[in-house]
Symmetry: C2
């Protein structure tokens, strides 16, 4: 790609550390000046790439770039937009190539999950036939931890740390008051298809009496009777019960609990959230006073309690992506390879996007304890290193984190408008 | 109280820093050895005092006492239990006095809110007539910030910091994705009767376009039309809208929105939470995709993001309470007096419990902006110092905060059992 520009884009749901990846991309490219040109960043993800809304990162000063590493959200904007198959959608692929050619893009870095890996793979394959060979490299990111091949997905470790710290803290609260007040606390966390995030709560529980006494995984069909018995058992033995429930919890016939039976006699949708559904069950069936929390976006934006390990992963894959670009590689993704559990050691290596695209990494069955309500020792061995270390952002004199929202300059357009 | 023991009890909802007050009480009493005896702590608050379940804090080593200052929840247990008027309930007051006499208690330190100040005041008045004069000192604590006389209530500042940091982070998330995904984010926070906690979200908003663009206060009756117009205005001008809603939000006739219309045709209660109610309104009336979070206990247990100022207040009132005890004072509470806004300066002074008991400190009307959706400059001047400074707990090698749950020893009972 000698001397050509890089186009960087963020894709899908953001994470507390995706901007750290972006910062590492820009910093590494600046170190490689001469071998790579400027880094352009697509505004609002692939849609900005198609619409030729390209941010000129050369206008950012060193401090602004450094600050990306401690700022949550997606600094350049992200989107949920999957390019369809090439056969059905040659128009958009052609447009991307046109944008690449117009802005002298030698390499496209696509920072996202499974879908983005698929798009990046396709783009890496199509340049030749469209008359503009271009390198294409995926960069891993997803709080769901469901990317194949990589040992873990940057973004997940910080969400895991948030969930573990939060359920620990809330449980200390509940146990203080349980003698006369709330006896059951329920925290709803993300993870529509896999229980990785819910599992992180289990890191707090070292002894049977420790919280959270119950984790409800999407992988384990919800059995109301067993659940209620487990709640009662904990209240009777520990004085309280602390529960982590995954938003993806399903009943015995595979329906999401948050959706099932959510329409009342007038056809009104009930207000979603599986946390309140489970909480109501506890009150109605057991008569215990409950409280529930839904962490929602708080969990995936909580840069203030990010995992240092996760932050290091996020920066390492950003750096590696640029290095792979300089080496002339294409159709690959830098992934995390764990080389040792204890002490935890890891390295970054390149893997083919073809083996990552559209695959989903499920939680191994043996990561869930025999009773279905906790995590196994092997799960702990896997998860614990990912939440290790703190990486607090700097705080200002006003008591708030010094997150940045730089003013971006778009590069001048060179093409006709394009309707996405 | 020369040489007599102190009885310390925690009351009502716990805070991220109430244990810091407890730690300061124990440390100060140890420094005053000779002038005060041992500190006993009631297990589960006033109920433990009545039931003669008294924790012997002399068994705690220095590290354990120090660790209280960075551990959330109520280490000794708390409860919601208000002693009735003396005329109706001489039995419980008599029992307290019996417990004090049996354990050589010279001073009762009651760490709580309005109700506890009332109990402490009554106990301070009744000792003489029951034949056992005892000093009684209240110590302020409540996340609701509704204690009279004191400039602020220890516990509130940390919750305020949590809310401000959380809405800032979640807003950065939403604004990243708003072009193609969620456009409205709603965070429900505590505050059933006053908007202090919701107001803290306003600290993030320095310019009109900053989040949160809308705060819904309990003090401002909810006007659906005005709210929806404000949401649309923000989405059209900023691309998204970030909302903080107080759990105490009421409609025009004074009903809680979280309760109003919560029974369906079958008489089933709806699942509470005003956050999802407001979110549903946005989707149904404006068609915007929304996300909502309910912070619930997470906000009042988040010691990991406690305010340093708040922590200092919490420790200072604990220390002052013991000093007042040593001076022989009774019927008082050490309160925070603000002596300067900028630079922020404060001191602790003793105030009579009679002026604090059963009074509620409301948010001044001029703390809410003219449009009812934000905070005023005077509110910012008041709030900002309270969230200043960080006081991260130590973290272990496992990535979790090193919160303590010491094993407590109860002192040997000397009285008959007592039924509360």
């Amino acid at each position: 790609m000698a001397g050509k520009n890089i186009l960087y884009a963020q894709s899908g749901g953001v994470t507390p550390v995706i901007n750290a990846t972006a910062g590492a991309v820009i910093e590494t490219a600046r170190e490689c000046r001469g071998r790579v040109g400027n880094v352009l960043a697509a505004e609002d993800g692939i849609i900005g790439a198609l619409e030729e809304r390209l941010i000129d990162t050369s206008r950012l000063n060193e401090d602004e770039v450094a600050a990306l590493s401690h700022t949550p959200g997606g600094a350049f904007g992200s989107c949920r937009y999957k390019l369809k198959a090439i056969e059905d959608n040659r128009r958009e692929y052609q447009r991307l190539i046109d944008v690449f050619r117009a802005h002298d893009i030698g390499c496209f870095l696509y920072n996202g999950g499974n879908d983005s890996a698929d798009t990046a793979w396709k783009v890496s394959q199509i340049g030749d036939s469209l008359g503009y060979p271009v390198q294409c490299i995926g960069i891993p990111k997803t709080i769901d931890n469901d990317l194949a091949v990589t040992d873990c997905s940057p973004g997940f470790g910080s969400v895991a740390k948030y969930v573990a710290v939060s359920i620990l803290e809330a449980s200390l609260d509940v146990m203080s008051m349980a003698s006369t007040s709330t006896k059951v606390f329920i925290l709803e966390v993300m993870g529509r298809h896999a229980g990785w995030i819910a599992a992180a709560g289990g890191l707090v529980r070292r002894e049977e009496s420790d919280p959270p006494q119950i984790i409800l995984f999407p992988e384990v069909p919800f059995d109301e009777g067993r659940f209620l018995r487990a709640v009662r058992h904990s209240v009777e033995n520990n004085g309280y019960c602390s529960v982590v429930v995954s938003e993806g919890l399903k009943n015995g016939v595979g329906e999401f609990l948050a959706d099932a039976g959510t329409t009342d006699a007038f056809g009104h949708r009930q207000l979603g959230g599986v946390g309140p559904v489970v909480a109501q069950l506890v009150s109605e069936q057991l008569g215990y006073k409950h409280h529930w929390a839904v962490a929602d976006y708080l969990q995936r934006s909580a840069r203030h309690i990010a995992s240092k390990t996760d932050l290091e992963h996020a920066r390492a894959v950003g750096r590696a992506a640029v290095e792979l670009a300089v080496e002339g590689q294409t159709g690959v993704m830098p992934v995390i390879r764990r080389t040792c559990d204890d002490p935890y050691r890891w390295e970054v290596e390149a893997a083919s996007l073809s083996g990552i695209a559209n695959r989903e990494s499920k939680m191994p069955e043996n990561f869930i304890s025999a009773d279905g309500f906790g995590i196994s020792a092997s799960c702990r061995t896997y998860l614990e290193p990912l939440i290790r270390g703190e990486a607090f952002p700097p705080f200002g004199p006003d008591g708030l984190p010094e997150y940045v929202r730089p003013k971006f300059s778009l590069v001048r357009r060179k093409l006709e408008e394009f309707e996405v």
